[in-house]
């Protein structure tokens, strides 16, 4: 073990001073003396594309690794040979069955596969970026490792992971949004989220209403000036402490509604409340608060 490590250092270390080298763009530079060890980075790995004629299969072995698969995307799949005898095809079909069964070792793995499938589906429906999807998968893994799943549903944890990951990355989705897309019910989601929040110490603070604005605005077909005004209003509302105790999505809807009124946009309280999954009353109360606040500011 130590031998391999030493050879690695001598191979990748700086030839002048033996210091650590760092890849910077296409250059490989020694971090100690600044010697440029290499200017062109060559990928010695297998080739992505096939250049030779009539060679249909590229050498590259597969897609990059991802946390969104239970095996990090390193699984081997047995394909379907097209131009072989029927006997060979049947043999491959049997091999495939066995291989598929052997891929999942334990119940734990099976649950993970199921949850990751659900997380991937959810992220796709909600339009959450891939980095957050991977984060959600990691979150689920830690929940599983902390033995939180006992007595709670996998679907709930899948939904809660996505919700928490999105919230931690400041691109929050509302609970009703997540739950309407998820297989889990709202109760399952809450049970899972509470457990995760309590046991794992999620780095999550209060949601800023502005996080919801872009999505609500695009769903309400708001003009961009309305949206940017709503953003200012959300900022004001947070500074003035109007958000405390209120549903942030309701506040976001109220900000949009207020901005819409200022710009004479056709936007009803009901419509604003609908996209935020809150009652018009919530929107109205925040609107009144906001208006009072703005009036006092002018005075």
């Amino acid at each position: 073990m130590s031998q391999t490590q030493s050879t690695q250092v001598s191979e990748s270390g700086c030839p002048e001073c033996g210091g650590r080298v760092r890849a910077d763009g296409t250059e490989t530079v020694c971090t100690d003396c600044g010697l440029v060890v290499g200017e062109h980075r060559i990928d010695h790995g297998p080739e992505w594309r096939s250049f030779s004629e009539d060679d249909t299969n590229p050498e590259r072995t597969g897609a990059p690794r991802t946390r969104a698969r239970h095996d990090r995307g390193l699984s081997t799949e047995i394909g379907r040979p097209t131009r072989t005898t029927a006997r060979k095809r049947r043999r491959f079909a049997r091999l495939r069955t066995h291989h598929n069964r052997a891929q999942i070792g334990s119940k734990r793995d099976r649950n993970r596969v199921y949850a990751f499938t659900e997380i991937r589906r959810l992220c796709d429906v909600l339009g959450v970026p891939e980095a957050i999807r991977d984060q959600a998968c990691v979150l689920f893994e830690s929940a599983q490792d902390a033995d939180l799943l006992r007595g709670r549903s996998i679907e709930g944890f899948a939904a809660a992971s996505v919700y928490a990951a999105a919230r931690a990355a400041n691109v929050s989705r509302t609970v009703p949004e997540v739950c309407s897309a998820a297989k889990a019910s709202t109760d399952e989601h809450h049970a899972a989220f509470d457990a995760m929040n309590r046991e794992l110490g999620l780095p999550i603070g209060a949601v800023h209403p502005a996080e919801y604005l872009a999505r609500f605005a695009s769903r309400l077909d708001c003009a961009s000036d309305v949206e940017s005004r709503a953003r200012e209003l959300a900022e004001t509302a947070v500074e003035a402490g109007l958000v405390g105790g209120k549903n942030p999505s309701g506040v976001a809807a109220a900000c949009l509604y207020t901005a819409g009124r200022e710009h004479d946009a056709e936007l009803t309280q009901q419509a604003a409340a609908d996209v935020a999954d809150v009652t018009p009353v919530t929107v109205r109360n925040t609107y009144v608060d906001l208006r009072d606040r703005l009036e006092t500011a002018i005075e």
Binding site: E53, Y114, V128, E155, A214, S218
Partner: protein
Amino acid sequence: MNREDRRVVSREYFSDERLAEHHFRSFNNFLNRGMQDVVDEKETIETDIGDKEGQEPVYVELGDVRMVTPRVREADGSEELLYPQEARLRNITYSAPVFMEMSIVRGGEEEPETVVDSTETKVGRMPIMVGSEKCNMAGFSDEELIDIGEDPVDPGGYFIVNGSERVLMTSEDLAPNKILAEYDTKYGDEIQVAKTFSQRRGYRALVLCERNREGLLEVSFPSVSGSIDFVTLVRALGLESDEEIVHRVSDDPEIVKYMLENLEEASVQTEEEAIEELGKRVASGQGKNYQLKRANYVIDRYLLPHLHEEGVEEEDVRINKAYYLCRMAEACFELALGRRESDDKDHYANKRLKVSGDLMKDLFRTALNKLARDVKYQLERANMRNRELTVNTVVRSDVLTERLEHPIATGNWVGGRSGVSQLVDRTDYMGVLSHLRRLRSPLSRSQPHFEARDLHATQWGRICPSETPEGPNCGLVKNFAQAMELSQDVEDEQGLKRELASMGVEGIPGIEGVDRTTADD
């Protein structure tokens, strides 16, 4: 036509819309009916739910597909219209969401069928051809195009996947569903072969009818190893009597003589015997009942699938298959007697071009099958876990999206073809135009194929006689001529047949009011 008029026509052929017209027409056609056709072919997704006792079966019914124009979904969840230039700059895919109506139906065994859930759901994203009907720039004026950062003289006709422009190479295939007679050699002897690439709904089966050195006809088709006697097969299809078989092949005395030799050698006399014989071939060593079942299945599934048609009785289809085989036999004999020459594979009448829409249809079909398999799995899983079955929670739209985008991004098409999509050649403007109007023969470029590379007289007016690369691809990669017109397949096949029947064509299957037996006289 005088010179001025010719110039007008010529200029029209060089206008923006005409340069990539074949791509637009083909892709629009795919969007407007091709997609729905593929979904209608699929019709339902069956599940294994209900195989157990006391469980009601569940299946999914597929309805209308709908598509909007390309849009992008940001990380914050907002959705906006996407224009090609933005897709290029941000390295994203110029694709539009596809929606499909789906309903989950439960019951049918003991309880009546009830719809558990029915909604229109997003099933995936379809890459959209720049400049097609569903492109966001459709109908824009030059000024508007400049405003969104687009070149007004850019011909379009390509896709943008992960920011790179990909054009789907038109491929030149041998025409399917046509009898081609030619010579072949087997064990040193010259034999005559009639070939048909029978194609229906993406399934392609090669049927061969060969006259071996003893003068006997043998037919081979997928799922049957080796070959089977022509007479046996025709009898299995319901053409029983000697007289009828001979009569169906030809009235030519010499051919009749050949046919009689064949009939003498025949091992079976009736339809039942013939099907038994076929069963022994396709499922040897199995029980007799299974053999019969398998034989019938093979006939209906793998033999000349293009003769199947909606609304035509199974029995009629079989007899039509028999007639078709007789036509192939006739072609073999005529070739043997020197009554005709072998068919010219390089003749442009025997060629069909697969343009972007046809290629996308192939892709969509496999992608939809993959989606269906996933939906089936998700449904069974949800049912096993006693979850409520809802359309939205069983459809994973990334399945379809990935299956559509990946082949366009890499060029590795379904069916093992590679290099189907290529990066648009932006060396200069002419490079783009030439690239969009290029077509490729699927023949291997490492083999000589001299005849295929030669300029054929029928390419006149269709293929440019001078634009072809030097080197291994010479003559295999071609370019359209300036005034090339690409005709499309008929939208309404039934309508065409009715029209033909009204013009006096007799014996068209599935057309009422035409007595089929009169075709004999």
